[in-house]
Symmetry: C2
């Protein structure tokens, strides 16, 4: 047994790496996958260095304390910033949304509701009418009623909607193309270890914040929840640049991003615990317990800040990809939305207010049109011996409008999702579900009223008591619809529970979410975000999907039977020229290093990027490195003839602990290893000899093939 | 490159395993660790078989449906059973607890509270006094007041407490020794992949349920929360025997146990979401998202059943290890507890009621002694211009009693935890924290009363308003104390939040839990359960603790420098006799199989238990297997001389995809692989040659050594 030279006191190859740091070695190209194992090793090395230094001086000790607390600091800052931005977005979107209808002459910066708060002339029932608030017809035509003013209001509403939509799509197109969409599929991919430079940068943040306000205010059928997660992740990424611990380590940075996504959901819904579970269930890939706790903290800070900025907030608000004429598409959809939405009160109002109204049961103080049939019956209520209220013409017109709103929402949401503006799917899905639920709820309520002797109602409805609560039907519908779209489970129930605050609703909500998940899974197991990831060809290895095929590693590895042999490097008999030829003739991201062509025994793995950087660096700094210089990856230089040029030592860039599996390993185990350890590649051996290599992309291609999909749809490395 | 014989259509070694199933191969010995990777492969193989068969007939299709739904069925049954058992335990413990003080003559099976519900003569203030309820002094001496009756009640209280404790310890000692303690450290170890036969069996369940009632009723300073988790896990284990999918697969069984532990916490505290997070954060090891969802479901079912059985329940309760004279110890501690507890109302009452009282703020209807000083002031309240209430003699006596109760609880809890009876730590810890918190709360309240002009109080306390809520101090104290003991974080906050139901308390609770975790971590990073696992020497590889040393795989692997060479098997030149000699001369659990002693190239890994079973099986069934029969692990039999006996093929028990790492792999990566993939052992190679082996026990020993602990404390394999 060769024991390599006795027991060496500590991690030689890591120390080598640190002793001779070549700038650029250990970084990644854009649209490449990170190596989680290497990143985590780098972080532990950094941590050990700080720990060993901290006893040297008070300054080093302070630095170590700062380092230990920097994780908490960065999530606190992220929480503060996300909360503040969400508050600003809420307020600005509200104001601009009301601008479509009119202005507050006494104070231009007040929205409709704030404008009328100060008014003494307003009664509770007519709280949205006050002299300070002027509709466009009043301002321009000087009259508030009549067909002329209706047309003027209609025109101005459409004009503002189109202006906002136009401005939004232009800003996105010119300054930050990454700002469009909800961002959640890309964030999932980034958290799984993919590099997309600029996706979480300051430009994206700025443009997304501004255009989100514009897109929401334009009245398009889109929500701000998904984009708020993107905004929070941008904050997390930007703050992580303040701390080298996070900025220089792609794995540690992803811990901050997980916490940031929790903060994003927390501010989007005011649901901190739901936010943490959303980050855990839907978004995150690597989620250690420390991150759970920090996510919780970030979510709380963010919720707290949002509540202090916008205490009456908690309002909420959807996008399909055509792609060729983004501006024209946005304008067209915005125009249709504005023109069709204006006449129907359920589509004209803010979607989150609509949801709130649908969730609320009718009480005596409720002025909502949905409850008119109940208010009209109020006087006779006490004498009524029936379970519920009879319908009046009011309920029929409300039902009709709801049905039209349902059709409108479904059609517009399908066309809106995928437009090149920031757009989320949460609120439109919930609105569709809530409308459908409320319609069913009212129908059942009427049924119970007219047929209160049916055995179903007889058993459940006591005489004179409200046994049907249409608001609960709306909640259940909203949860079911969102569950079907995203396939979220626990986090969805917790979010809706935190939104509505009733522990007693958990069981119906769970039943709804479970049923919709099962029905959805019967048509296909992908949620909308997974489908988007697939459409975009991102290299995302889903941790939820089980690999159930019986293939073996040797069937997936390359080289295949028809391929040229595996490109390998030998440990001590290549020249710089030969090495450069191998690199230029292939496009692989890395090369296995072996003892010799004859034995095929594996020594380690070297990355293409690192080799290129190391050769360039050596050319620049080390003298005597020529094209015929010998390259060696061993500890000691090979014995060379006297006249040969100075050899090039590349041991510092050699990964001496590459992952290997045997050719007989079932692919299910290989997939499991890739998922759990976050590998980029794995070498395949047979009886100790190197046979081939499997990369993450090979696995994704193989999975696509087994699912009868196009393997070429996986586009990145 | 040797490619082993071309592409074979499917997983050969697995099929081999299934084609020639040798009974006993693939099972585990007691006190051994399971191989997660192998178990999960077995389950996927089973799943594929069912899937391929299901199109054959309607019966097979029904079977596949049953198989798919069995996971939900088993968690539903577990939830139902845990909820029902928790309800029974609650009711029985309440009744027996009251039996120490007296009996309900009109209905013997009523506890004190139920007995007095029916009474018309009871006023709200004196709701615990009614003629139907007779104290022992009334029954035996015929008088309710006076020193004689006090002594008689005191005597009977002590008598019953000692009887219950004696019965409990005897039952545990004779029938089910595993029923003692909280069970959480063992469940954590079992969930991490350790086998302890009988720990979750029907005897343990039965005896634990009965003795838990007895131990709680005896008044010992112990809680029923931890033991309820053990009871729920027993239910999960027993129900999993109804489904071969779970009973025959140790990895799948642990999914059910994770869900069961969530159900246990759910019924213990009435906190289903907290239960799921507890299972995730504190107990579980392998926690796929499917388990999260099932845990949630189990927790809900259990909470629902408990509430239907015992709607007014939600009472809660709290055990040190001497070990030599268990009965005597229990009796002694029970006697001291009973004698010291009786005179002080705060120690005599049920601990969970005490906690409830401490959490409750004083309102006008509150009859608690803690609020007497407030009730006396009620009349003058409106005229008071101060922030809070002045103290009366009542508050001083309450404060004194609370201080004595605090000292008593701390001392008795230390001595009780570890007694050989079922005992939990949650409620006693919470009680200690709640008492301390309430004392501080009352002190601050008095301070605010007498010094309401201090700048601190001036700013926060409006005149005439209650600015200090001692109940909140008690809650925060309880959370902080429990957090310090268990080092739970998110799940603890969610449990206390679900117990108290106020979203506004989350921030103070989080701050308290975080502070106590940091202070605790400064003294040592282990929670009480981890400390117990270490004391018992279980092979538990903690997923939370980071491995921060720089050692390499070759420093940890065996054989060490001074050891004899690694025991290996060659693939085709051993005889049965030689194989048996190797097995009998070593005590290793498995042996690497290599091509030849010269090349040291690795082929696979064979487990000792499997080899022994396979040889015995061959002796019994196959004819012609002699001591000098050749043993071969290759696909085809080696060419042998004509007169040699029939060879023995052992390829079916060979694991052809053993995990390997290189000798240069840093131990931090090795530890990570063991944790994430749940390995039992891993082989170490250098340049393609086998060098040694690392087992889970080697890693735990190495970690103990690096932490300057005794490496021989790790006792099992």
């Amino acid at each position: 047994m060769s024991n390599g030279g006795g027991v060496v006191s500590s991690s030689t190859h890591l120390l080598d790496l640190l002793e001779e740091p070549i700038p650029g070695v250990g970084t990644y190209d854009d649209f490449h996958t990170i190596d989680w194992v290497r990143e985590k090793c780098k972080d532990r090395e950094r941590h050990r260095k700080i720990n060993s230094k901290k006893k040297e001086s008070a300054w080093e000790f302070t630095k170590s304390l700062y380092d230990a607390w920097s994780g908490w600091l960065v999530v606190t800052l992220t929480g503060l910033a996300s909360g503040a931005l969400a508050g600003v977005i809420d307020i600005a979107a509200d104001w601009m949304n009301d601008l479509k209808e009119g202005v507050c002459l006494s104070a231009m910066w007040f929205n409709h509701e704030q404008c009328c708060w100060g008014s003494n002339e307003t009664t509770f029932a007519e709280r949205d009418k006050c002299p300070q608030w002027n509709s466009w017809a009043e301002l321009i035509l000087g009259q508030a009623e009549g067909p002329g003013s209706y047309i003027m209001n209609y025109f101005m509403y459409t004009f503002w909607a189109l202006s906002f939509a136009f401005l939004a799509v232009c800003l996105v197109k010119v300054f930050a193309p990454y700002a469009c969409g909800s961002g959640i599929p890309e964030i999932k991919t980034i958290l799984s270890g993919f590099i997309i430079r600029g996706y979480l940068g300051k430009w994206t943040l700025m443009i997304k914040t501004i255009t989100l306000v514009l897109a929401v205010a334009s009245g398009l059928s889109l929500g701000k929840e998904g984009p708020l997660v993107h905004v929070a992740c941008c904050c997390g990424n930007i703050f992580s640049y303040l701390f080298p611990k996070y900025s220089k380590n792609e794995a540690k940075k992803r811990e901050v991003l997980s916490a940031a996504s929790a903060a994003g959901v927390s501010v989007a819904f005011g649901a901190p615990i739901g936010g943490v579970l959303f980050s855990l269930e839907e978004v995150s890939y690597y989620f250690p317990l420390k991150t759970l706790w920090r996510s919780f903290f970030a979510a709380l800070v963010a919720a707290f800040v949002l509540r202090s900025i916008n205490p009456f907030g908690n309002s909420r608000l959807l996008s399909t990809r055509f792609g060729k004429y983004p501006v024209l598409e946005v304008i067209t959809v915005a125009a249709i939305t504005a023109i069709v939405a204006f006449p129907n009160p359920y589509t004209r109002q803010n979607t989150s207010e609509l949801i709130k109204e649908l969730f609320t049961d009718c009480g005596p103080l409720e002025s909502s049109q949905l409850c008119q049939y109940r208010s009209q019956m109020n006087g006779t209520r006490a004498y009524s011996d029936v379970s519920s209220q009879p319908s009046t013409p009011g309920v029929y017109s409300a039902m009709w409008q709801l049905c039209l709103a349902l059709i409108f929402k479904i059609v517009m949401t399908i066309f809106t999702f995928g437009l090149k503006v920031p757009s989320g799917l949460f609120i439109p899905s919930m609105a569709i579900g809530a409308i459908a639920g409320r319609i069913v709820g009212i129908a059942v309520e009427q049924l119970a009223y007219y047929h209160h002797d049916w055995f179903l109602f007889k058993e459940w409805c006591e005489v004179g008591a409200d046994c049907i609560t249409p608001g609960l039907y709306a909640m259940v519908g909203a949860a079911a619809c969102l569950g079907g779209v995203t396939r979220m489970t626990v986090s969805l129930v917790v979010i809706v529970f935190e939104l509505t605050g009733g522990l007693e609703y958990i069981v119906p909500l769970m039943a709804a979410v479970m049923t919709s998940k099962w029905v959805g899974d019967a048509f296909g197991r992908e949620g909308i975000y997974e489908a988007h990831i697939r459409l975009n060809g991102y290299p995302f290895l889903d941790a939820k999907e089980e690999f159930t095929h019986t293939t073996l590693a040797r069937e997936v590895m390359r080289p295949r039977r028809s391929d040229p042999p595996l490109a390998v490097l030998t440990q001590d008999d290549l020249t710089v020229e030969e090495l450069q030829t191998i690199i230029s003739e292939t496009s692989y991201n890395g090369f296995p290093v072996i003892v010799s062509k004859e034995s095929q025994r594996l020594v380690g793995f070297a990355l293409r990027r690192d080799i290129t950087i190391a050769i360039e660096n050596a050319r620049r700094k080390q003298e005597g490195i020529m094209l015929n210089s010998r390259v060696y990856f061993t500890q000691h230089a090979p014995t060379l003839p006297a006249d040969s040029p100075r050899p090039l030592k590349l041991r510092s860039i050699l990964d001496m602990s590459p992952f290997t599996v045997t050719d007989h390993t079932p692919m299910e185990i290989v997939v499991d290893i890739f998922r759990k350890l976050g590998l980029r590649q794995c070498l395949v051996t047979h009886n100790g000899r190197l046979l081939g290599i499997i990369t993450k992309k090979d696995i994704l291609r193989h999975m696509a093939q087994m699912a009868n999909q196009d393997p070429e749809s996986i586009m990145f490395n």
